[in-house]
């Protein structure tokens, strides 16, 4: 049973515009009309939450969760970790985070990705975790490669990992991408640069974390995520458990 709270309105100045002309796909897929706002109702104040039982034993380990015969994915071994918070700074516990990415050569395991870089038989490219009581999460993977994409020019995506994040409320739902500190492609990328605020792009950039790096084993990158904040209590004890 949980309290349901109002959700603080989204600050769109922190986000890409619906149409960012340099990102060609958004020209015909970004709505023209401004979205219509209304006070939070039950529908948006609630949202899907998941128990740890939805996870398999290797869902958090992309190094091995698609590998055969005890193998491991090819590429720089990394662990990505951080804390999920809401806009008030409170950790968000028990929240599902899904990730997907290209392999170390920059190729996705998808029938429509025909890039020259080969598939890695031991790498699938998706994983998921649920945050702990302190909002923390961690998963292992290989550092993905940069890849070219059709956008009208010589466009290459910076190395990135896609994140899908659930909060407590459906209106907190967020999909974003994580970049890597020091990648020169970030400044050249029409998708990263669709975010109008340089500080907001920087916050999507994971930092090398030598403290969490394990000697002779795996490098760590730190990536914290913030969902929209919650406000006053709207309802109490409205959700049914299973």
């Amino acid at each position: 049973m949980s309290k349901l709270t109002d959700i603080i309105p989204r600050d769109f100045s922190l986000h890409p515009p619906r149409i960012a002309p340099d990102y060609r796909s958004s020209r015909s897929r970004g709505p023209i009309h401004k979205p219509i706002g209304f006070a939070t109702t039950m529908t948006e104040a609630t949202g899907p939450t998941f128990g740890h039982d939805v996870l398999g034993p290797n869902d958090h380990d992309l190094l091995i969760n698609h590998a055969v015969d005890g193998g491991s994915a090819i590429g720089p071994r990394i662990v990505v970790h951080g804390v999920l918070r809401d806009g008030d700074g409170r950790p968000v516990p028990n929240a599902l985070i899904e990730v997907w990415q290209a392999n170390a050569g920059g190729r996705y395991r998808h029938k429509k990705d025909a890039y020259l870089a080969p598939l890695d038989p031991n790498f699938g490219g998706c994983g998921r975790v649920i945050t702990g009581e302190d909002g923390s999460y961690s998963f292992r993977t290989v550092q993905p490669g940069a890849y070219p994409w059709p956008n009208g020019g010589n466009d290459w995506r910076p190395a990135h990992i896609h994140f899908s994040v659930f909060g407590m409320a459906f209106s907190q739902r967020l999909i974003t991408q994580m970049y890597f500190e020091g990648d020169p492609h970030i400044a050249l990328c029409p998708i990263a640069q669709s975010i109008p605020d340089a500080a907001a792009i920087d916050r999507l950039t994971a930092r090398l974390d030598m403290e969490a790096t394990m000697p002779m084993d795996i490098r760590a990158f730190r990536f914290d995520i913030v969902l929209r904040g919650r406000g006053a209590t709207l309802f109490e004890n409205q959700m049914e458990g299973t």
Binding site: P16, T49, F50, K112, S164, I175, T176, E240
Partner: protein, 186 residues
């Protein structure tokens, strides 16, 4: 506590199916359970099916999109533990998505107002920079004085209403154009 700025949204890109519906994307090994596939099994209520496509500004179907669904059961009750959450990916050749669920119950709001039965929908795809919130109402189950629909000009209201036909309900999501769907800032 100090206010923290929300992490910026980025497009889900063309391969959102890998991350969110990996079995549908053809990953032959991976999770033991793909999420969002059991709306009808998890909720009590009358079975319904909604079919549609996401249409871009050129009039073409979006083939790499994903519709997420959040709803109560037939009595209007929301649940925890993933019950009431669904995912309907766009078909890679036709763009059609299919939502197999139950008719949601009317929801009583915090101020006592009754909202007509509806699904909350969230749309992501390549070219969509911030996930799009919208709703699906039902042509044979809409109250004249619904508090949300009443806010919207009548010509655009119809973009939120799934039309009942012989083959279940039909609702296309138009990202742009004359029939652009009403999206919400919620």
């Amino acid at each position: 506590m100090a206010k923290l700025p929300e992490s910026a949204s980025q497009t889900a890109g063309p391969y959102v199916h890998i991350g969110c519906v990996p079995e549908f994307a053809g990953l032959e090994r991976g999770y033991h359970s793909q999420l969002g596939t059991s709306l009808r099994a998890d909720l009590t209520g009358d079975p319904i099916t909604i079919r549609g496509r996401i249409i871009d500004g050129m009039g073409d179907p979006v083939l790499d999109g994903l519709v997420e669904i959040w709803q109560p059961d037939g009595a209007g009750t929301f649940y925890t533990n993933g019950k009431g959450f669904g995912r309907a990916p766009s078909h890679a050749e036709t763009g059609e998505f299919v939502i197999e669920t139950v008719m949601p119950g009317a929801v009583i709001d915090q101020n006592g107002t009754l909202q007509s039965p509806h699904l909350a929908l969230w749309i992501v795809a390549r070219g969509i920079n911030v996930g799009l919130h919208t709703r699906a109402y039902f042509s044979d189950n809409v109250a004249e004085d619904d508090p949300i629909l009443s806010m919207i000009e009548p010509t655009r209201r119809t973009t939120l209403i799934a039309q009942k036909g012989s083959n279940g309900y039909q609702l296309d999501i138009h990202l742009q154009g004359e029939k652009e769907t009403v999206f919400f800032d919620v």
